[in-house]
Amino acid sequence: MSVKEAELHLGEARHEVPHLGEQYETIEQQNDAYTIGMWAFIVQEVLFFGGLFASYAIYRFKYLYEFVAAHHTLSVPFGALNTFVLLVSSYTMARAVRAAMQQKHHKQLKYLLWTIFFASIFMVNKYFEYSAKYHHNLIPNQSYSAEEVIHHNHLKVENGMVDLGARKVPLEEFEGRTKLFFSFYFIMTGLHGLHVLVGIIVLSILAARAYMDWKRKVPHADYMPVEMTGLYWHFVDIVWIFLFPLLYLMGGQ
């Protein structure tokens, strides 16, 4: 860029935009910075969850039969329903972002509330799933018992050995390894649930702001908070897109 061009560029950029941060020259620069920053944040989230996925994959590789047996105790209909709910919430989120870009705050509010609604359904479902696990003693703490896993898969236990078809495993080891599965199940879905919860909180704040913008009837040009929350929300959806088949489906029926 020549000096002349740069001077021109800087001069042009000085028109008033109320939400332009003082460290930025132009609103495009600010929006780009937010987008790239959010993506960098998502990159770190990918690797944060990635460490868990890698550990889970390695244990599934090591203890295939025990993990498959434990897989079967999870409810596919529940998992599928939750996937459905999150995918729809991603759609409503995308619509909310679109409405924010067009400064149609009533629509924006409506779609934000839908997103919160679906996210809440997801959490309610998770609550039911967790409490079912609790009733079957599948919470991986001191009171954990693999009885439900054995019962559910109709496995035979003889002389303290669990018959897994392909091989026999001592009951104690079977307990330890299925407990590992549930440790991962709870840590992965728990961390994901925490992200959903954070999402609900942020979405609620955005909804309140959208409500005020709508009431005031003043178009609000800064759609970036909604768009960035959208990126986050879609990422949470993506995590579940992987969690669902890995935990619920890949049981080798």
């Binding site: 000096v3 460290q23 930025y24 020259e25 944040f41 770190q44 390695i58 703490n141 330890g176 840590i187």
Partner: protein
């Protein structure tokens, strides 16, 4: 910005005198003030970590374990490792100097996300305080690596609290990384193309990549250890079906690249200092720039070399060994280019340059001994001996701290407006260099003879070398104390430094005053020349655009 106008008649407004209340510091979003806050924080943790090091060297001055019990000794090296690595080395150059000078170097008023920047300092401080509480209250004896199953199933004490502290500083590091990545991408002044960037910026960019890509993995891993301790699940406990080697895989996926978080920024500083004091453009600019990225990327492919003797598959070991040798290539590219820069340069022997030369010597020794450890067969002999201890101290202390001290001496005048006494600074640099070699070179020999690390007593025949090492440590300590004294002294009695005391090129020297104004520049500058343009002294690196008429309500940046 109304204050700017009223002040300027008597005293120029700078980032320090613009506001002086405590709240103005604790809530500041000025990258320079946050840099200073970091500098104070890391100095504090460096001091604590050094005390632990002193205790270790005192104990090892005699063969018998007489001064410290083995338990206390374990806690001491854990304190030393945790504080020095997580709370000094990792944030040192990027968070303190990166914050202070990086936005100036690229012609920006601030980083892209000032609020996130402040948040990351708070994460750092809270994490540091929690870890310090954990280390003092009963202490932990896991070593800085928190190896399982010891840390998860056996170790008593405040392991979980320390882990929470490390987690927080980890996220602080991630936030800083995100901030710098976006800043370098989006905040460069017009005309500041990628290949006009100072090499320090390239180095910080590569460092930020590692911070963002690696740190979350160690965060989740340590989180698992903490969960394992509190809930009694067995992800890393072989008794319960877990796999401790998996912990090492995940831990070193971050922690090996983390050594490049420590040394890459130092390399960036060395590029700046060598160019300035040789009055010459860094030889092979493009190679030095890309070698930073190469180190960051290859650094992620070598972590298994920490696990050659753990039961990792030997085939994986072969691959990791080979890839480890590859890191030598970009490191050597840098070293040779720096030497080529000095050769035929007009060398000025100011204190930062002495530190930089010290860096070169120590880093070369540290790097070359790394090759002994990368090779499978010698690694089996040298694992967990003092050879390893000496090697990583040469890289992390010899490399990173020399770089840190070089940076401190180089940008001190910009930060404080004062100049320290040169002769004392040269003497301190020399003391650090000599003291460092006295301390750690004997440890190579000790390690080669088979002395294992992490024991508080050792056989009589290693006494002489250990005593030499402890004696060297006191010289080293003196070398660290001296700067602390004369730098603080210079705050009050130092001569006022001008804008550009070194005659250096670069935006932060040519356009920004010593004690920069709150927004660094009068207006956004336009960059017209590449970095280190010493060949054209008459051409400024950047100019201010001709002022435009200010519209009503405009002129946000003052």
């Amino acid at each position: 910005m109304a204050t700017t106008a009223t002040h300027s008649s008597q005293e120029r407004v700078n980032y320090l005198n613009v506001r002086t209340t405590v709240a103005s510091w604790l809530l500041t979003m000025d990258h320079k003030r946050i840099g200073i806050l970091y500098l104070l924080g890391i100095t504090f943790f460096f001091f604590l970590g050094s005390l632990a090091a002193a205790a270790i060297r005192l104990e090892l001055a005699t063969p018998k374990g007489d001064l410290l019990s083995s338990d206390t000794y374990n806690k001491m090296f854990t304190i030393h490792g945790v504080l020095m690595i997580f709370f000094f080395l990792i944030p040192s150059i990027p968070a303190a100097f990166g914050n202070f000078v990086l936005p100036m170097m690229i012609g920006a008023r601030d980083v892209a996300f000032p609020r996130l920047n402040l948040l990351s300092w708070y994460f750092f401080m809270i994490g540091g305080v929690l870890a310090t509480i954990a280390l003092l209250k009963g202490g932990i004896d896991t070593g800085w690596t928190f190896y399982t199953p010891y840390s998860s199933a056996f170790a008593k004490g405040e392991v979980s609290l320390a882990i929470v502290g490390v987690l927080l500083v980890g996220f602080s590091s991630i936030f800083t990384g995100i901030n710098f990545l976006v800043t370098v991408h989006k905040m460069r002044a017009p005309g500041m193309t990628w290949f006009r960037l100072p090499l320090f910026v390239w180095a910080i960019y590569a460092t930020s990549l590692i911070q963002v890509l690696g740190t979350p993995v160690v965060a989740i891993t340590l989180l698992l250890v903490a969960v394992e301790r509190s809930l009694g699940i067995g992800i890393f406990d072989p008794n319960r079906g877990g796999d401790p080697i998996l912990f090492q895989h995940l831990f070193w996926f971050y922690s090996h690249p983390a050594v490049y978080i420590m040394v890459l920024p130092a390399m960036g500083v060395i590029s700046e200092v060598i160019a300035t004091f040789s009055r010459r453009r860094v030889f092979g600019y493009h190679f030095v720039a890309f070698s930073s990225l190469a180190i960051a990327i290859i650094g992620f492919l070598v972590w298994g070399h920490h696990m050659f003797t753990t039961g990792q598959s030997i085939y994986a070991g072969l691959a990791f060994s080979f890839l480890t040798f590859l890191v030598a290539i970009p490191s050597a590219i840098k070293t040779f280019n720096w030497m080529a820069t000095i050769w035929k340069g007009r060398v000025h022997w100011d204190a930062p340059m002495i530190y930089a030369l010290g860096f070169l010597g120590l880093f070369v020794i540290g790097g070359l001994t790394g090759l002994h450890l990368a090779s499978l067969a010698t690694n089996v002999h040298l694992t967990d001996t003092y050879f390893v201890v000496a090697h990583f101290h040469y890289v992390m202390v010899g490399g990173a701290i020399m770089g840190y001290l070089a940076a401190l001496h180089y940008w001190w005048s910009k930060m404080t407006g004062k100049m320290y006494p040169q002769s004392w600074a040269r003497l301190a640099a020399l003391l650090v260099f000599v003291g460092f070699n006295l301390t750690f070179f004997p440890q190579f020999i000790l390690g080669y003879m088979g002395m294992p690390r992490r024991y508080h007593s050792y056989p009589e025949e290693w006494w002489a070398l250990n005593l030499l090492s402890s004696a060297g440590a006191s010289v080293l300590a003196l070398g660290y104390l001296l700067p602390a004294i004369y730098l603080v002294w210079s705050l009050k009695y130092g001569t006022a430094a001008g804008k550009n005391p070194w005659g250096a090129r670069g935006l932060e020297w040519e356009l920004v005053d010593a004690l920069p104004s709150p927004h660094n520049f009068e207006r956004t500058p336009i960059v017209t020349r590449p970095a280190y343009d010493y060949a054209h002294p008459e051409e400024p690196t950047a100019i201010y655009p001709t002022p435009r008429p200010v519209f009503a309500g405009g002129g946000k940046d003052g």
